[in-house]
Amino acid sequence: MKKFQLLLTAIIAVTLMTSCGGSGKEKAETITGAGATFPQPFYNKIFKNYSSEKGLVVTYGGIGSGGGIRSLKDEIVDFGASDAFLDDKKLAEMPGEVLHIPTCLGAVVAAYNLPGKPELKFTPELMEGVFMGKITKWNDAKITAVNPDIELPDLAITVVHRSDGSGTTFIFSDYMSKVSADWKEIVGTGKSLLWPVGLGAKGNPGVAGTISQTEGAIGYIGSEYAFAQDIPVASLQNLAGNFIKPSVESVSASAKGEIPADTRVSLTNTDAVDGYPISSFTWLIIYKEQDYKNRSLDQAVQTIKLIEWVIGSDAQKETTKVHYAPLPEAAAAKAKAVLSAVTYKGKSLK
């Protein structure tokens, strides 16, 4: 009898104690973020470094860009992460003013599985033809015309796309809409699309796995996932007419142009001569006013410190180790300027 009461009291006490962790504490202990999977290998690496250096735990959940935006909207994270910047309509829907801080550059690559792993070249026309199902065989004259010195097999093309909504799809379709009128008309740009052909797989790893297990498959994935699984990727013809392989240099080159003050810019189909055409920034998103959900001043300060560190040289050095490109100096300066606008209860944190 007594035991029952004790047990009940204990259960109630424990639930009360666990239900209000995190916010309202004076000293920050953990910083929580969630969002894009496209830069996740990079984030996992640097946040681990940060935790072991500073003794502050950073947890990052790869739940997709949309999930990251929603988590920030619900004010349950210190920062969100997204591959697609929030357009004006989305910004207006957020409860507070949102800042975009670019953290690195990544490429979306056309990865394929063909016997002998040939190095293919693709033009925008070929991309449209293959991903819209107009070209169905690998030895189609249109493909062999661009790749005259490669013996292509008489094999059906299997297009693999994402089954879940994703920032990677957004970047890819943003590019396709810029280079193909048909694509823009029929498919359009978005995180998930009405696909004319092909099969869907979940997440970047799912698409990469399906490509590497299916002969004749082609799909689009974040470059890191192609390199990690050793799947060949196509060189793409850019606006200047050059065939460019995705690499740290060619992705960096795509960000050479003018970047707006709020860093919200699409880099796809870049006009840089040596730029890879499907490159993109990926952003961390935070509230300009850090005093929400009764967060402590320290929590706000630590969040900003972390993000400053991410765009600083120590973390940027790590980008290339996981096949991302570091922020060009101009972009990093812009990112720092954006960060300096952050306030806590109206006061600048600087």
Binding site: M1, D164, G165, T189, L193, L194, G198, L199, A201, T214
Partner: protein, 284 residues
């Protein structure tokens, strides 16, 4: 307060809580689905459009309703001969001994394997077979998913069956034998009529399990949001669609997904209700 009373309140409390949670789920689904229903009306159920591109959004559930029903029913048909044999084997022919108890544990083990592992196995082991048979160029699709589902639901379809078959009164069987019936005739004329409704209940349980399965299906069905043209074509199911799309969903897409969830709930309800009706008929 004595312990009798406390215990009683605990029991009442948990009972009420479960009912409240169930009601809460339905209410949440209803409220979440209202905007989608206002937008599309009943057309949502028979429209085959699923276009999430901003500015052209239109959503319809038909491809997923078809995908869900076809994969589940096909899986049940594939499961039936195996599940029925296992039920008879364990419930009537070999009730005790090493082999049956081994078989029983293996079947129970099937129920314990996480669905993502089934999905993996299907992806790496079953797909090449499907490709070699020339059923589907990539080895994905409705048929592939159904085979995996069939294996997954064997334990649900067979264990209840073997229970009821073993509970058929011995005296009835003895009577049939004494009239000169063979073993097969006993199964046909005594066991199946007596245990039929119980066996059937197991299949309804299994069907419900197949309808709701998500992960293994997502990995194998090809996630194509169009109406499948045949059982070897790619498709998608309601559960798999929700799992794939909700992470990025907002606005109209979000509410459409909630409505799909509600429809899934309704379909499962209808299946269970039909099952109960048929069971009544069988046991009458």
């Amino acid at each position: 307060m004595n312990s009798e009373k406390i215990f009683r309140y605990l029991l009442i409390g948990s009972g009420v809580l479960i009912v409240l949670i169930a009601l809460g789920i339905v209410t949440t689904l209803f409220i979440g689905a209202i905007p989608s229903f206002k937008e599309f009306g009943f057309g949502f159920i028979y429209s085959a459009d699923w276009n999430p591109t901003q500015g052209r959004e239109s959503y319809g559930a038909l491809p997923f309703i078809i995908g869900t029903l076809v994969t589940s029913i096909l899986a049940l048909l594939l499961t039936f001969p195996f599940a029925f044999s296992i039920s008879l084997f364990l419930g009537e022919y070999f009730r005790n001994g090493k082999l049956p108890s081994f078989l029983r544990s293996v079947v129970d083990l099937l129920a314990g394997i996480p669905s993502v592992v089934y999905g993996l196995w299907g992806f790496y082991a079953l797909r090449p077979v499907i490709i070699d048979l020339g059923l589907n160029a990539q080895g994905f699709g409705i048929f592939t998913s159904s085979i995996i589902l069939a294996i997954m639901i064997i334990p649900y379809a067979s264990s209840l069956g073997s229970e009821v078959i073993s509970m058929v009164p011995g005296s009835l069987k003895e009577a049939a034998y004494s009239l000169g019936a063979t073993r097969f005739e006993v199964v046909k004329t005594v066991i199946i009529p007596n245990a039929g409704s119980g066996i059937f209940a197991g299949y309804i349980l299994a069907l419900g399990r197949a309808i709701g399965e998500t992960m293994a299906v997502t990995m194998l069905i090809g996630n194509s949001n169009k109406i499948p043209t045949g059982i070897f074509d790619l498709g998608n199911t309601m559960a798999s669609l929700i799992a794939n799309q909700f992470g990025e969903a907002d606005g109209l897409k979000y509410t459409s997904l909630v409505e799909i969830g509600l429809l899934l709930f309704v379909i499962t309800g209808i299946v269970n209700y039909l099952g109960k009706l048929i069971m009544k008929k069988l046991s009458a």
